[in-house]
């Protein structure tokens, strides 16, 4: 393991301190917690909290700030934060109008955030939540813990953050979140595995020219291993899988995110976006009305990319995506 760290079990603590120091005009670390909260005057709006295991940087603390998350709660690397920490996040986010939780569909996250919700309700804070499950690589919940929550979560943050900022109520945000989640689909691939610093070894092995389709953001296995192919073939596999799910028609409007998994340079991500464009815009005649390329939901030092598509069902979603924010990572 070759990493710029000190003690592996201090990584999360030191990372949060580094982040809070570097961006102290935007955010603050709530003392004695793993919560990064925004420095924004409270104004009786709905608070938006997300979080999960660490290792997905800039998720989630990188999206804390005006127009996006009120607070982010970090767990150990690839391990959901505990309910007491999530509760601290909820308290930091609470402006009196309730708090909304964005949870990625992983067993640990769901259970810990759910317990936190119970604890918050004991303290008379209204809490609602959405469980994002955008990863189409996984079979549905009859066979598995359900589709995982992956990079699409970042679109969820952005849209809900803008809605909260514009004064939407807790129930309006809940309704919006459920609608967005229904239209949110992602799929990823890995060229090389992630190494959790606390584990010290890669989570899986890939041969020299082998890649894996359908990987999750903690190195969970995907649905197929094969030899590395040109970018345009990789893009085609993604588009084929997404099309099966989404049944789009010419002219449908989408937001698209090409997301780097942590060790894949932007150079490759832009090349990949160019291939996605050829397939979706030139061939499928979709209207990609909003686009992003970069590292948004990573898996430590995994090399790979994911593609997220969100079907824009409502013009307002686009406005929300385009609304200005004051965060580290958007």
């Amino acid at each position: 393991m070759k990493k710029i760290i000190n003690e592996p079990d201090h990584v999360v603590d030191e990372m949060l301190n580094g982040l809070a120091f570097a961006y102290d005009s935007l955010v603050t670390r709530i003392p004695e917690t793993t919560v990064i909260a925004r420095k924004v005057e409270k104004s009786n709006k709905v608070g938006l909290v997300s979080g999960g295991g660490s290792g997905h940087e800039p998720s989630h603390a990188g999206f804390v700030g005006k127009g996006m998350l009120s607070a982010a709660v970090a767990g150990q690397v690839f391990t959901s934060p505990t309910p007491d920490q999530v509760l601290e996040g909820i308290k930091a986010a609470d402006e009196g109008a309730g708090v909304f939780l964005v949870i990625k569909n992983y067993t640990g996250d769901v259970m810990n955030f759910d317990m936190a919700k119970e604890l918050a309700e004991l303290e008379d804070i209204d809490v609602e939540f959405v469980i994002v499950d955008d990863d189409i690589a996984v079979e549905d919940s009859t066979f598995t813990a359900g589709r995982r929550g992956v990079a699409g979560t970042v679109f969820m943050h952005k849209i809900l953050g803008a809605a909260a900022d514009s004064g939407a109520s807790l129930s309006e945000i809940k309704e919006l979140a459920d609608k967005v989640n229904e239209q949110l689909f992602s799929i990823g691939l890995a060229l090389s595995p992630a190494t959790n610093p606390e584990v010290g070894k890669p989570g899986f092995e890939l041969e020299d020219q082998e890649i894996e389709f359908g990987i999750g953001i903690h190195g969970e296995p995907g649905y197929r291993r094969e030899t590395l192919q040109p970018s345009k073939e990789l893009a085609k596999e993604f588009v084929t899988q997404l099309k099966k799910e989404m049944n789009w028609s010419e002219g449908d409007r989408y937001a698209a995110l090409v997301n780097g998994m942590g060790a894949t340079p932007l150079m490759e991500q832009f090349v990949f976006m160019n291939d996605v464009k050829k397939l979706l815009v030139d061939d499928e005649k979709l209207d990609l009305a909003f686009r992003k390329v970069g590292d948004y939901m990573t898996a430590i030092d995994m090399a790979g990319v994911s593609l997220t598509l969100l079907k824009i069902e409502d013009d307002q979603w686009l406005d929300y995506l385009n609304a200005p924010v004051d965060v580290i990572g958007w």
Binding site: Q76, T82, P83, T144, A145
Partner: protein, 195 residues
């Protein structure tokens, strides 16, 4: 009646076993999960030790509750809320003068309420549920625990992180079942079972 002191040494022993076998648990979890089950529980065990060391309890319910709360707030991941819920549920049951099998049954209920797993889904439930039967019919032993554990090998996971592997989860012992095996081995070793 279940003896509070013995339970305390049971839980201390559990923590030791988990800590000793941290790497083994991580390895099991690397095969079908994300490789942290040993690290997660070791973190929890250290916190439990800190909480229990030098402390003595009069009431079983208080002991279970402290352990449950510590686990919930230190472990994280899937196993934190699950073990935490088990002990919190046992804490509630302990108020009713429950016997050991009733306590463990309450623990399982806590796990199931939190995680919604049935038997056969390759989780810690597949350790807890048959162990309860063994406790009831007096057959719990290191051997029977190991037998139960080995059975998780052939199961296909449909809950938790291992479920993403589908068929590829078959052939591996479930890490949570393994850690629960340590729990019940510790139960025997601490003499909680034979009173």
């Amino acid at each position: 009646m279940v003896d509070v002191k013995k339970v305390q040494s049971w839980l201390t022993l559990f923590g030791e076993k988990v800590t000793e076998n941290k790497e083994h648990l991580n390895q099991l979890d690397t095969a079908i999960g994300d490789g942290d089950h040993g690290s997660n529980l070791t973190r929890g065990a250290a916190a439990v030790k800190e909480k229990l060391d030098g402390q003595s309890y009069d009431e079983l319910t208080d002991l279970f509750k402290d352990v449950g709360m510590v686990l919930v707030s230190k472990v994280g991941g899937a196993s934190g809320p699950l073990y935490g819920s088990a002990f919190i549920s046992m804490a509630k049951e302990a108020k009713n003068d429950a016997d050991l099998s009733q306590l463990i049954t309450a623990g399982l209920d806590g796990i199931v309420k939190r995680g919604n797993a049935k038997t056969g889904e390759k989780t810690m439930v597949d350790m807890w549920s048959p162990v309860i039967d063994s406790i009831k019919d007096g057959s719990l032993s290191d051997e029977s625990i190991d037998e139960i554990l080995q059975k998780t090998k052939d199961m296909k996971a449909s809950k938790g992180r291992a479920s993403y592997l589908g068929d590829r989860s078959i052939g591996h012992i479930d890490p949570g079942a393994q850690s629960s095996a340590y729990l019940f081995q510790a139960l025997i070793e601490a003499g909680v079972i034979n009173e």
